[in-house]
């Protein structure tokens, strides 16, 4: 229990340092854009593939169930896929994927920098290392994750449409009637809130785990795994509270 509070205290202290005043704003912007490119462009293919198939699978599964209930019109599938993708599947699945890909990458990158004394080298120069190495990663993640989630929603809906057409469950007109039916902007707001919180959670926990690593290659591996596991768990808890409080 004491260790949990110790870690929580360490995390909060590090976050405070990470958002302290930068030495030279231009350098921090440059680093933030570099991180945004790494996180965004680097993760786009996996997000695109997974979300397209998730949309497709959702459409097929609902079509399978609706067939047995002849009273439910097939155009509802479009509505369900849209709602499911926006409210839950796109933000949650994207965040879990990013925790695995980006989170482990951040933790191992910072861990390696710590072990190879690169972080010490920054400190000796007089650089505020948490602000320079952690701040831009979190900022980039908070900006880029919502963008990826929006793309995931769009591709999920397209995936659902493609799967439905392939299976002959509905026509294009029927599907997109469902997609537009009962659209509520508040759902998108919830999605963006989740995406921002997930972006912060996965990057901050991964940064903390990587930045504070001690030891060698084995410890870097462990911290990377812990970053993925812990950020995934915390994101699911955050997910619950967002749904509980905002829906």
């Amino acid at each position: 229990m004491l260790k949990i509070f110790e870690q929580l205290g360490g995390f909060l202290t590090l976050m405070r340092s990470a958002f302290s005043k930068p030495e030279k704003a231009q350098m921090y912007w440059k680093e933030t854009f570099r991180q945004a490119k790494d996180i965004g462009v680097g993760s786009l293919p996996i997000i695109a593939i997974v979300s397209t198939f998730i949309g497709g699978v959702s459409a097929v599964q609902f079509a399978y169930q609706f067939r047995s209930i002849s009273l439910v019109p097939m155009w509802w599938i479009g509505s369900i896929v849209r709602k499911g993708m926006i409210l839950e599947l796109a933000p949650t699945v994207s965040a879990l994927l990013l925790a695995g890909k980006v989170g482990s990458n951040i933790a191992s990158e910072l861990g390696t920098m710590r072990i190879s004394e690169q972080i010490d080298a920054y400190e000796i120069m007089g650089v505020n290392t948490p602000a320079y190495l952690i701040g831009p990663k979190i900022a980039a993640s908070v900006i880029v994750v919502p963008m990826l989630v929006v793309i995931a929603v769009a591709l999920g809906i397209i995936g659902g449409w493609g799967a439905g057409l392939l299976g002959g469950f509905f026509s294009t007109t029927e599907y997109f009637r469902g997609v537009q039916d009962g659209f509520d902007g508040y759902d998108v707001f919830i999605m963006l809130v989740k995406a921002v919180l997930f972006g912060f959670t996965l990057s901050s926990i991964s940064c903390y785990k990587g930045f504070t690593v001690q030891g060698g290659a084995v410890e870097i591996g462990k911290s990377s795994t812990q970053a993925v596991v812990l950020s995934s768990i915390v994101m699911m808890i955050v997910n619950f509270f967002v749904a509980f409080l905002l829906l």
Binding site: E23, K24, M27, S116, E117, Q118, D120, A121, E123, I124, M125, G126, V127, N128
Partner: protein
Amino acid sequence: MIEIKNIKKNFGSQQVLKGISASFENGKCNLIIGKSGSGKTVTLKCMVGLFEPDEGTILYDGRNITEMDFHARKDIRREIGMLFQGTALFDSLTVEENVQFPLDMFTNQTAAEKLARVNFCLGRVNLPNTNKKYPGELSGGMKKRVGIARAIVMNPRYLFCDEPNSGLDPKTAIVIDHLIKEITEEYNITTVVNTHDMNSVMGIGDKVVFLHEGLKYWEGNNKEIMQITDGELFDFIFASDFLKDLRRNAKY
């Protein structure tokens, strides 16, 4: 000049530094030597502020770094250059970007001025035409030279070198030693070198501090060290029987 006074440092129940005092002079290569685990690296890291000493004071030309707040300490750090044991070059940056980084972060020089300074420093360490290479493409000796170029790019008043010769062949090690010595004298820097390489001690040891079990055991220079005939320092310097016999038969 850097002075350390009664520095103590514990890690848990293990007392690593038990009260070390020494002074490191301007324009000279000041060497800290000692066996592995004697406290050399901890002393160096306390001096540069990477470790917080439990007791004692560290004075940079009279300025006590142990009592400084974060911002004042950052100002002092801009007067410090450091060559790390593993060079600590930034993997994702080219040689030019590595050396230029402190200029980018802390100066408002134009791109042309920065490039000129980087090229000067790389030329000074005999590494021309390597600007666009990545650290992974360099040999151990070249990496050390880039490390030195990065350490001197901001015209430091104090230069720290942690095991500058580790992993280098004897000939390259001597080249690096001489480079450190030349730079120290040329720019009148206070240089502190942490080493257990006897070639360095004999070659550039203007002042030598020998640490043993967390205490300062001996202090002198590379001439005086040759007069030692017994004790811990003798065992350390002339570690093998071959060297001991050689020393006993030498006419010093």
